[in-house]
């Protein structure tokens, strides 16, 4: 009976790489097993082989090469992912279905996540709140660890060396005997960092080292009951520096994270089973800075805990698959510059139907109800239809809603920057703080304070996808997906009051409405056993709905003619759209198999121009603003299987040595790597 649980990945074992794409099974998109080719939702699977290409060992490095996923660096230096043109804060990241926490300004640092023991990465694009609740507006990324091991003991050791004195060592120990399966892994990463700007005292990335320990245990208690336990511990230490009044401040920045998840699956009959899950995770970041004399200048901390429990039931009856689940989540945060230690409780209930009608038409219908202590309850829905026109041609369409609750920062922040002179107040603390200041007569009202009494609303979205899959032969595939996302009630900070000496006081409001739309196109062609070429492209339009409506009509925006400096009025055509969005992103990937042991990989990724902020003072991004120039990167990798159990990789990332010190801090220039992997079986 154990095999019923493991069957998800079984049929992939010996198929050739390319075929996998057709056979690949996905679970997160539907929370039930289903072939990707038949799934009427835009999903992308990154296979284990693809994960290991180019010597990548962290999630960020793998995911940024994928079509339609753009790695972005914000002005504050936070890295994140953009899917369908939506911000990094709108993507939920899961590890075997459990959420990873610890976000900085909404973005999760994906360099934190080591890809040891990961069998595949599933990427679901478009609003998925109907299954995953808050934050899943843009999509979900699920990392799936190895499901089925081979009997016996197996130890894999790998060692990587790369530019910037980077060392990455990992050890995986796996054991399987009868109903017990154990997988333990250790990953160590150390890097000197790098510096793109010589003229200052600071480094672009300071030296850091981290390690991850993870353990997964699966145990068949009986024929019908399966226990699955995941534990993970991560620790990072990094040198922390800052410049203050021409002197260098030095300190440390530490991150510590752990998670523990356990599930019991009860297989009642061939068409009914139930699963109970408990998950707890904690993320803690600490940093401090000392002056040159060794006196504490500044310190900061962030401590976030999440506890989740869930009960799921699966029914299968004559091609009808149903999932029903309910559970609760408790979150708690303790952080400097917060008025209190906020807590948030959530109870949720969801259900999804997956059925076939009229022989061919596949229907997925899902709904989720989220009940928060502080907000109006949210219903999220999804309807997806898949229609196979012929065996080779499939048309899919889906419509879904998404939401994101205001985060703790937007509610409880109480931060004053005395150097530049401004204050940011979370919405839940703003009114009381402002009223006190007003009574003291030290501020002047800009926005009526009464507007701050009500709570912030959740951001909500509607997502539409229309996809066509055309697979003319076993060796050629075309996938095109048109997408559209409308996000309402976007939360942004806005000036509310002015203090003495012209200091500004900001708070958060639901103000904007944005729309992103575009086309994603993917195609792959494989010449049997010889080579394989993949092409991906995304066209994206992303803009503020209000600006687009008003520009040139109700509101006039001005810019300056770059030649004469004379003011000019902007037209609709001059509006470029949202910040940090590129109109075009593309990639071409070539895998060349010299023989069945040796392989050469090349990938080009391209990102067209974008802008990080408004440079001409009209608050919108127009064609007269300063843009970050478009760029392309090229990675080359060579891998060889020395023997059945030994292999090595060498390669160069960013072979042309592209850098843009002014705007792009996360591209360090050319990187060489060598990677050796040894497997010992008993």
């Amino acid at each position: 009976m154990l095999s019923a649980y493991f069957s998800f990945s079984q049929n992939q074992k010996d198929t050739i790489v390319f075929d996998r794409k057709l056979e690949e099974v996905t679970i997160s998109a539907a929370k039930t097993a289903k072939s990707i080719a038949k799934l009427p939702i835009p999903v992308m699977i990154i296979s284990e082989k693809e994960i290991e290409e180019f010597g990548s060992s962290k999630l960020f490095d793998v995911i940024k090469r994928q079509t339609g996923i753009v790695s972005v660096t914000t002005k504050t230096g936070t890295e994140g992912l953009q899917m369908q043109g939506l911000d990094a804060s709108y993507t939920t990241i899961l590890l075997d279905g459990f959420p990873i926490i610890g976000r900085s300004f909404g973005a999760l640092d994906l360099n934190r996540i080591a890809l040891v023991d990961v069998e595949k990465i599933e990427v679901i694009k478009g609003a998925s709140s109907s299954l995953y609740g808050s934050n899943a507006l843009g999509g979900v990324i699920n990392l799936v660890s190895k499901k089925k091991l081979i009997d016996g003991k197996s130890t894999t050791f790998s060692l990587k060396n790369a530019t910037h004195n980077t060392t990455n060592a990992s050890l995986i120990y796996q054991y399987k005997k009868e109903h017990l399966q154990l997988s333990n892994s250790f990953d160590y990463y150390n890097s000197d960092g790098y510096d793109l700007i010589d003229s200052d005292k600071l480094s672009t990335v300071n030296p850091y080292s981290n390690y991850t320990i993870s353990s997964n245990l699966k145990y068949g208690i009986s024929d019908k009951i399966l226990l699955n336990t995941n534990a993970r511990y991560y620790k990072q230490e990094q040198v922390h520096t800052a410049e203050h009044l021409n002197s260098l401040l030095k300190g440390k920045s530490n991150i510590e994270e752990w998670s523990f998840g356990s599930s019991l699956k009860y297989l009642m009959s061939s068409n009914f089973n139930q699963q109970i899950e408990v998950y707890k995770t904690n993320y803690r970041a600490d940093e401090f800075l000392n002056t040159e004399e060794g006196i504490l200048h500044d310190n900061n901390y962030f401590d976030h805990t999440l506890l989740q429990s869930e009960l799921k039931s699966y029914f299968t009856y004559k091609g009808l698959n149903t999932v029903i689940g309910f559970g609760m989540t408790k979150e708690e945060l303790s952080r400097r510059d917060f008025s209190n230690n906020p807590k948030q409780d959530l109870k949720f209930l969801y259900g999804q139907l997956d059925a076939t009608a009229f022989d061919k038409l596949n229907i997925i219908l899902g709904s989720r109800y989220d009940y928060y202590t502080d907000y109006t309850p949210v219903f999220s829905n999804k309807l997806a239809l898949g229609f196979p026109i012929t065996k080779k041609l499939n048309i899919n369409s889906s419509v879904g809603t998404g939401f994101k609750t205001p985060d703790f920062r937007q509610k409880y922040f109480d931060f004053t920057n005395s150097t530049i002179g401004y204050t940011v107040l979370g919405r839940d603390v703003a009114f009381d703080r402002l009223a006190t200041m007003q009574a003291e007569g030290i501020i002047q009202e800009i926005v009526p304070f009464s507007e701050l009494i009500s709570h912030l609303k959740s951001e909500t979205s509607i997502n539409l996808n229309l996809g066509i899959k055309y697979y003319p032969t076993h060796y050629l595939t075309f996938d095109v997906n048109f997408f559209n996302n409308k996000v309402n009630d976007l939360i942004e900070w806005q000036l509310v009051a002015k203090g003495v000496n012209n200091t500004n006081i900001y708070s958060y409001f639901n103000i904007n409405q944005v729309e992103t739309k575009g086309i994603e196109f993917n195609s792959a062609y494989r010449k049997v056993d010889n080579w394989e070429i993949k092409f991906g492209y995304q066209l994206l339009y992303a803009y503020d709905t209000q600006v687009l409506k008003e520009i040139g009509h109700d509101t006039v925006y001005y810019a300056r003619d770059p030649e004469t400096q004379v003011s000019i009025k902007l037209n609709k055509e001059d509006y470029f759209g949202l910040f940090n969005r590129s109109r075009h992103t593309a990639n071409i990937k070539l895998n060349y198999y010299l023989n069945d042991k040796t392989e050469l990989n090349t990938i080009f990724t391209y990102r067209s121009k974008y802008a990080l902020s408004d440079s001409n003072g009209n608050n919108i991004l127009d064609t007269y603003d300063e843009f970050v120039a478009g760029y392309s990167l090229c990675d080359v990798g060579f891998s060889h299987q020395i023997s059945l159990l030994k292999s090595f990789q060498i390669g160069v990332k960013n072979i042309f040595g592209f850098t843009n010190p002014e705007y792009i801090s996360n591209i360090s220039g050319r990187l060489y790597y060598i990677n050796i992997k040894i497997n010992i079986k008993k």
Partner: protein, 206 residues
């Protein structure tokens, strides 16, 4: 005037000589460009960011900087005052006139008529043209906290009543004497390049 940046100057010369061919908004024949009026003789007081130094006076009728009392507008760093109203700091020159000013939204050619109801004069609290380094967004310039560069806000036209009841409109184009100013290296600006139209007849139409 300083000619430290020939390229910028050159582009301005092209502009003044062929302004009629510009497609973005037709500019009247009588637009004059004044290049780099030097109002950089000031120091910044670290305590309250206020400026101390010399006001450079300008007369629309003479089309040049002046040192007599019949000036219309004067500049000291980012501060702009007029020859009307009351003084708000000790550096300010004598006011003998009744000048007034307001800021209109638009491009230069949009301002065809003076709206006399909007006029405002300098007072004890400060100049009529707000000088808060762009914090309020109500003045003539915006300030970039990262680069510390002060830029005139596009689409802001300063409309003046001169000291002797004539009218003028002005668009400030640039505040520095180099193309890539580095305020962190002491390049604080104070060099006004602006376009203006002077209506010498006393009519309120341009």
């Amino acid at each position: 005037m300083r000619y430290t940046c020939l390229l910028f100057l050159f582009s301005l010369l092209i502009f003044t000589s062929c302004e009629k061919t510009l497609n973005k908004g037709v500019i009247a024949d009588d637009v004059t460009t004044f290049i780099e009026l030097d109002a950089s003789q000031y120091t910044v007081n670290q305590l309250d960011s206020s400026l101390t130094g010399k006001y450079e006076r300008f007369s629309f009728s003479e089309g040049d900087t002046v040192s007599h009392d019949n000036w219309d507008v004067a500049f000291k760093g980012s501060t702009i005052i007029i020859n009307g109203g009351e003084s708000s700091d000790q550096d300010q020159p004598n006011r003998v006139g009744d000048a007034a000013v307001y800021i209109a939204d638009g491009v230069m050619s949009d301002v065809r008529t003076v709206d006399v109801s909007k006029f405002f004069q300098d007072n004890l609290a400060g100049p009529a043209i707000i000088d808060d380094l762009g914090i309020s967004g109500q003045g003539w310039a915006s300030y970039d906290m990262g680069t510390h560069i002060l830029s005139p806000i596009a689409g802001r036209i300063l409309v003046f009543r001169t000291h002797d009841y004539r009218y003028a409109k002005m668009e400030i184009l640039y505040y520095y004497d180099s193309e890539n100013p580095q305020p962190l290296d002491g390049d604080f600006g104070g060099f006004y390049t602006f376009n203006y139209v002077y209506q010498s007849s006393g009519e309120i139409n341009f």
